[in-house]
Symmetry: C2
Subunit: 224 residues, 2 copies
């Protein structure tokens, strides 16, 4: 059928993406910039969490954000309320960001003048997993309202992540959220993946998340 052709074209594209992602990562390192990407289903609460995180981190650090969506500037407008510089990437019909899109969007920022860059991917638990964006920390988010079996059903995205965040902690009781079951499913796919639980609405878990991100940043970058 059509599979072999698609696989071949995909392999070439992924290789090109990897080369560009590596050069992005080098650039980030030279600039002392630490890059964190967020990926999840649509509606998990990436933007709400990121808006709060940017607002809180701005007090101490120079932060900025790139945000991907098929259409609309809605998320960039929401994130800009934090006061941080934000750039929207519109992907049209493409179901994920790639390193080229990130590279082109970076022209908006002076990397040397930033400590942290956050990248919010298109809402999708499948497509973003194969595309390295040059980020230092990839965060997968899953909400208390989505169902505890998501890691088993979308294993690749959990396998390529460095941190899992459970969002909408404030709704846990209303949906009878089975915390231990979700965490067990995360670890069935990716043993030892750190898991944090937050609520962007109530602020629960935000301090731990900020600490996790700040402490993940290498000391060399922090000193610079």
């Amino acid at each position: 059928m059509t599979e072999p052709r698609i696989v071949e074209v995909r392999r070439k594209i992924l290789k090109e993406n990897d080369v560009l992602a590596h050069s992005l990562r080098d650039r980030f390192q030279r600039s002392g910039l630490y890059v964190v990407s967020f990926v999840s289903s649509p509606g998990t609460g990436k933007t709400a969490l990121l808006e709060r995180l940017l607002t809180e981190m701005r007090a101490e650090y120079r932060v900025a954000a790139l945000v991907g969506d098929l259409a609309t500037e809605n998320d960039a407008i929401r994130l800009a309320r934090s006061g941080a510089p934000v750039k929207q990437i519109s992907t049209g019909t493409i179901c994920h960001l790639d390193a080229g899109m990130v590279d082109r969007a970076l022209s908006e920022f002076k990397l040397d003048e930033l400590d942290f860059l956050f990248i919010e991917n298109v809402g999708n638990l499948v497509c973003p997993s194969s595309f390295d964006l040059g980020e230092n920390l990839r965060v997968v988010l899953v909400s208390t309202t989505e169902g505890e079996d998501k890691p088993l059903k979308y294993p690749t995205i959990f396998n390529t992540a460095d941190l899992a965040i459970i969002t909408k902690s404030d709704l846990a009781q209303a949906v009878d959220f089975q915390r231990e079951f979700l965490i067990a499913n995360v670890h069935a796919v990716r043993p030892n993946l750190p898991v944090l639980e937050v609520s962007a609405r109530s602020g629960v878990g935000m301090k731990e998340l900020r600490q996790f991100i700040v402490h993940s940043r290498p000391l060399s970058a922090r000193a610079g």
Copy 2:
């Protein structure tokens, strides 16, 4: 860059898919079978709604379901609790069902002995939109917890749907759901798209949904 090659390969694949989807649709019609597909983000509640729908409709109709996921048989196991025949389609790394997958899975069923077939797509608001499965009615679901701007951010999936369902109505108050805003956004993308609101947990709206589906089925099929 890589875009022109991808577009060309995609066009050929979509054309092959369309040809197969048309022949599936003909087969369904000859068998007097009405086919309804469900598409949404991961975690919107497709499976919970479908389990309840199959259970309720079985009293009067011969119903069956196909369910797509990257991995696990979890959803087929859940749907089978309804007592209806169910077949899981595992897509591996592919972010949507296509007509070929549906065609191969149909060998499990005797189409002449069914009134309604439900197809639950992979959880994804982007990729499934381009792939005709031969269904008669395409339903896009969005939950009260996902954010009211989803139709604007994922317009293609709403543009290819025949019905929109708001799920998790029981959580509307807890998340301060803005019903009119979501409906306005649905209609900004697709004027006059019917919108129903349901809760698979409480049962609110299930009767209206059953009636909508049953009345969408052509009279010729109902008489057959």
